[in-house]
Amino acid sequence: MKFDLDAVFVEHGCAGSALATRILGALARDVPVTHVADNDTREATRPAPGARDPFGAGKRRLVIARRKTPFLAPCPAGSSEFACCGYLVLTLASNCPMDCSYCFLQEFLADNPSFQVYANFADSFDELDRLAANARGRIFRVGTGDLADSLAFDSITSISRDLIDFFASRENLTLELKTKTDEIENLLAMDPRGRVLVSWTLSPDAVYRSSEHLAAPPAARIAAARAVLDAGYRVAFHFDPLIAYPGAERDYILLIDELLDTVAPKQISFISMGGLRMTPGLRGAARSRFPDDPMLCGEDVLASDGRFRTFTPLRLSLYRALADRFRKGGAEIPSYLCMEPASVHESVFGAPPVRPAIIGKRLARD
């Protein structure tokens, strides 16, 4: 995928790094590159003063810097209120060149919207090895798609190659690359040895056209899934955010049918679902950036967790319709709901969620 960049900033200490060399070598010649002092990237990462859309402008400014805090963390969506899937996040980049109207980064990264990639990303491998060594016998699912799309800039960073190389040789670690792109060229050149899972967020065409700006069309995501499956990767799908617009149930079912026509149910490692949820701050930011997007004006009400969500009966009936369709597909696909309480999980799937460690292990290896 090709995304436009307005400027690149490189910390002095990262100038000679392998990542900076790769990126600068792959960039168009007319993109200005500025070197900045170490620990002085604040100006480059903060919102551009005077920009009409500071968050949007930040997405077109790439900052190559050293990460000073740990790369690995539990999924921030985990809380005692919600059933947890045991996912761990590895933050190798921050922000995303795509511009989904509902994206939580619009609030989360409002103060530092530049697209940052961390030149010392290989230091994360030590953290992962320590994690694995301290919990022998456990299997962890680790993903890079929390604060960034895992593959959006892979054509210029090629980080996926380093990651696949590392995870392919680790028995109790599974890498999840989560994306809305069809940027899979690097993946097709690697052997994941069954330890890498590529997952796609899938939405019907109506949501893609209205809300998922610069993302790959849903059909292209499904075709990419087929291609990586054939290349030895495992695949999974996130129906998250699930948006309850008029006609949504019919469209999501058609989408599932399209998916199952291309990827057999038994080849899908898991699916997840999560209703659109927005804090009041995110809702305000999203609506102000995308005032004409009907997907942001659903029948959402303030829920007890302080987020706007589709009112409960409608949200649950949509979850159930999708779960039923997958069930009718002919294979029991491991499934979970993101940021929903155990009671909702039980209502939708007919059984309470299993403990995080067990579900994490199951999702990592099934």
Partner: protein
């Protein structure tokens, strides 16, 4: 009135009502027919500041959801009936906001009505109350009993037991199963 005169009137009303500048800007950014239609109804039923802000927010959301103009929404029969109907300005203002909310949340409103009619059909005795989650934001509802004696308690528990199938239907409706 021409467009400039309408905008001048809108600014005047906004100043009187101390409408926040962001709301005024959004009002003035509407198409000419919508600007005028909102001005007209705001005057006729004398919307207060908060009511005007809520009406503007809700109208914009309906317009985005349905791909229609604010003028087209305000021209619907149910809205025109409120604007031109009897009753005090405050009661018509409340009715307008309620009607707009029904347009903005059609499925929620329908589901709330269905559940309320299901509760009415239970004909529960006084002393038993059922409180639905606000705006159906949860799948839990509250049943409370108000009693002063063991006999009253026994009576209410029997009534509740008889209503078990109806209560089960409400639980299913809240869980999106009906």
């Amino acid at each position: 009135m021409n467009a400039d005169e309408i905008d001048a009137q809108i600014r005047m009303l906004a100043a009187e009502r101390r409408l926040p500048p962001s709301h005024l800007a959004r009002w003035l950014a509407m198409d000419a027919a919508s600007r005028a239609a909102l001005l007209d109804i705001a005057r006729v039923i004398r919307l207060r500041t908060g009511q005007l802000m809520t009406a503007l927010d809700t109208l914009e959301e309906i317009a985005v959801r349905e791909h229609v103009t604010v003028a087209a929404i305000l021209d619907r029969p149910e809205i025109r009936r409120i604007a031109g109907g009897p009753g005090s300005a405050p009661s018509r203002a409340s009715a307008l906001l309620e009607a707009l909310r029904t347009l903005r949340y059609p499925l929620l409103k329908r589901m709330q009505e269905q559940i309320r009619s299901e509760i009415s059909a239970l004909k529960l005795p006084r002393g038993i109350s059922i409180v639905l989650p606000k705006e159906l934001a949860s799948d839990e509802f509250t049943v409370s009993l108000r009693v002063r004696s063991a006999a009253e308690l026994a009576h209410l528990l029997e009534a509740l037991d008889r209503s078990r199938p109806g209560l089960a239907r409400i639980i299913e409706m809240l869980a999106g199963k009906k």
